[in-house]
Symmetry: C2
Subunit: 455 residues, 2 copies
């Protein structure tokens, strides 16, 4: 039996009927060339026989001295966790996204290990899909995406690969150090590890005090400028998931022409899409939207090192000119990163805690203060550059499925894979109507930048 860390406890604590706290991934595969029509059904049979379940997939919640803890599930029922499903006619991506939208809306059974693995047949063009769902208290978002990737290989000829839940634990590696996030921040406010979740009301009061003091301080005033918007309403229990791949070479051509980074261009695409989406509902705030973005603290796109931080970036949604908006974002991101340049890691953590405090306060108390520091989360997770395979089936797309929360009705998470940037948008289906249109608006955002730079 192992006690949950304070951060992991927070996910249990934040979970409500209309706010499930699980993360997921949608992976799209094509049949191996030599595969018969019953390829997916055979794969399902193979997976059903993988009844050896390794940690953390065999761990269920229990309680120890009144605190939540993990313990091995002695009666693990694989049929509950591994589900073989099918898409209805005509089996387009549209039907797949509808299925994932519905599944991602459902709470998981807390008496069992908090994960599900859905193998989905019935896609057109000899394709199939895997939708994986893991509670954030078991595995955090970035670790989850890495976990799903670990079940793959670069070798197209490898067969009889172990199921995700049967992999030897060592092969999956240790829980990786995550970027500073809302949750790490809250944990930081909680102080030393081992403190109980029962101190949360005290933490909320501390957060409120922090924010009030910061607002008086001229240096920090700039971080409370996010305008109110429909993205920051309360949410309901049903989700819409939208996902699409966009060409990385097209994005890189814009980087080159505009002297900006991939992350800048991706944010400009999001800014353009949000601007159109909100304008169409006559709901675009006058002041620019602000995104919370985990970034590499290096000033270029180089991959060395692991120095990541969180910035609040203005999305320039008040500007109508696409190139001007991209430059605005580029400068804002650069200034935010520069602010960290002379800070010690401890100072960065304190500064981050300050930025995220209003949102932490909202989430913990359910109350909306009169100010907020950001409107939306845009998270860019690096993925594999090489082609990946699973039992001979080529991975053709891999989309993160994240969490929508009260006051954060939309989450835009993306990863790179080979020649693509793959967006997964998750939102409250009632607060944000027709979220799926954002996919077209993202494409429009890319096209208008190409036009602006005559590409």
């Amino acid at each position: 039996m192992k006690l949950l860390s304070p951060v992991d406890q927070i996910f249990l604590w934040l979970e409500k009927r209309q706010q499930p706290m699980h993360v997921g991934g949608l992976q799209l595969f094509s049949f191996p060339e030599d595969a018969g029509d019953d390829y997916v059904a055979q794969l399902a049979e193979h997976l059903k026989s993988e009844t050896r379940v390794t940690s953390p997939f065999n761990q269920r919640l229990t309680s120890k001295f009144g605190q939540p803890a993990w313990t091995e599930d002695e009666h693990l029922d694989l049929e509950h966790h591994f589900r073989f499903e099918a898409l209805p006619t005509p089996g387009r991506i549209r039907e797949l996204l509808a299925l994932v939208s519905a599944e991602h809306s459902h709470l998981m059974d807390r008496q069992r290990p908090l994960w599900e693995f859905h193998l989905i047949e019935g896609l057109q063009d000899r394709q199939f899909a895997v939708y994986t769902k893991v509670h954030h208290s078991l595995v955090d978002g970035i670790s989850a995406m890495r976990l799903f990737q670990k079940m793959l290989t670069t070798d197209p000829d490898q067969r009889n690969m172990p199921a995700l839940w049967s992999m030897p634990h060592s092969k999956r590696g240790k829980k990786e150090q995550s970027a500073p996030s809302l949750w790490n921040t809250v944990a930081h406010m909680l102080g030393e590890s081992g403190k109980q979740i029962s101190t949360l009301p005290k933490v909320s009061r501390a957060l409120l005090q922090t924010v009030r003091e910061a607002r008086k301080h001229p240096v920090y005033q700039s971080i409370f400028h996010a305008p109110p918007s429909i993205l920051n309403n309360k949410i309901t229990g049903s989700r819409r998931f939208a996902a699409q791949s966009y060409s990385l070479p097209r994005i890189k051509a814009i980087c080159k022409a505009s002297d900006s980074t991939v992350n800048d261009v991706v944010m400009a695409m999001c800014a353009s899409a949000l601007r159109t989406f909100l304008m169409n509902q006559d709901a675009l705030p006058e002041k620019p939207l602000v995104a919370m973005v985990p970034v590499s603290l290096r000033t270029d796109d180089s991959t060395g090192g692991n120095q990541v931080g969180v910035i609040l970036a203005s999305l320039g949604t008040h500007l109508s000119d696409p190139a001007e908006r991209l430059n605005y974002i580029h400068d804002d991101v650069k200034a935010s990163k520069a602010r960290y340049a002379d800070m010690t890691p401890e100072e960065i953590l304190n500064y981050t805690a300050m930025m995220l405090a209003p949102t932490s306060f909202q989430l913990l108390t359910g109350l909306a203060p009169k100010w907020q520091s950001f409107n939306v989360i845009i998270s860019n997770v690096p993925g594999p550059k090489e082609k990946m395979y699973w039992n001979g089936a080529e991975l053709i797309g891999s989309y993160p499925v994240s969490i929508a929360m009260d006051r954060l009705a939309l989450n835009m998470t993306l990863n790179s894979y080979g020649d693509h940037i793959e967006f997964g948008l998750i939102g409250c289906r009632r607060t944000l109507h027709s979220l799926q249109r954002m996919l077209d608006y993202l494409e429009d955002g890319l096209t208008e930048l190409e036009a602006a730079y005559s590409l």
Copy 2:
């Protein structure tokens, strides 16, 4: 805007993460003879176009003066309620039951009208299915089954029938008077209608007092004899649904040979199945199990009149001889009905309230007293005698999907349709392992009675 009745409020109040309070029905259809392979997909297109949603399907929960009320959903999103789905390979009944088990485990989104209609393709042998899910606060169990039947016709040639949610309200008729149930009893204890749910703690105390006094009274002692069993443990959030049809002529032949009613024989089948199921887990109580059964208060099977009541019937699970067990059940049911013969309707209601009080108390407080009045609910709902059709597709089976609750981990509901009695068993998947085996044990129960009467 219309306030919820106290009984309907109770279903909202009883609903917990691991105890959803919706009821459902599973209907199995065969394709019309002239139908093409895309028959179900075409039907889905037709249903998608039925965007006019009538009461009660357009009603969502709201609050009026702090009490729950129904109001029209101005932004009804049909795609959320009508879902077109498919079974994975090989598309047997087994895959269908797995899908219904999973869907019935999920809470519905309270910000929307509390119903879902799942059209399911991909069944073998040119069959398809409909799984309908309605919250018990919107429509009670028996009314729900009648509602699902109202969308059908006896005319095999009728086409372009309106969707369940688009039917003119008058055609569906008024909410029918239901049998006395746990819920009506609790409402009775609540006293006059209009009282708020906030008086529930007071009701719980009153129930406890009632039970304590009744236990001192020799006449009532007999109703607290249900033995403790695994059927009366706490439940978890995941369900197993099992369903099968059994031959009515075979059941009637046993009735004739044993001079008993269809209800007696059905109860004997349940008794036999429960006996085997519990014996296999070394969990059969020494004392016989007790079932709560809504019955016609007439002493024969005649259909005239609407006089229904609730009895507690001993299932004779301590007896190993099948014929002896059937006779025991027959006598016990007869004696229970006879007890009502000289009572006024008010006296029957008071007596029923007494019988159900311990269970009402358990459900309302979550506490298990040291005694209980029954172990399992067996509910037999009359269904259509004639063949029914939906847009030309013949209804070949119709199975109720009811509610499992804390301390009532199994619910056995059945209806008649044509030449069959159709069982729907819903249970907690963790508390009751391998519930699907009960289907074979019910068949065994029928066979052993045939052998006992040399049929």
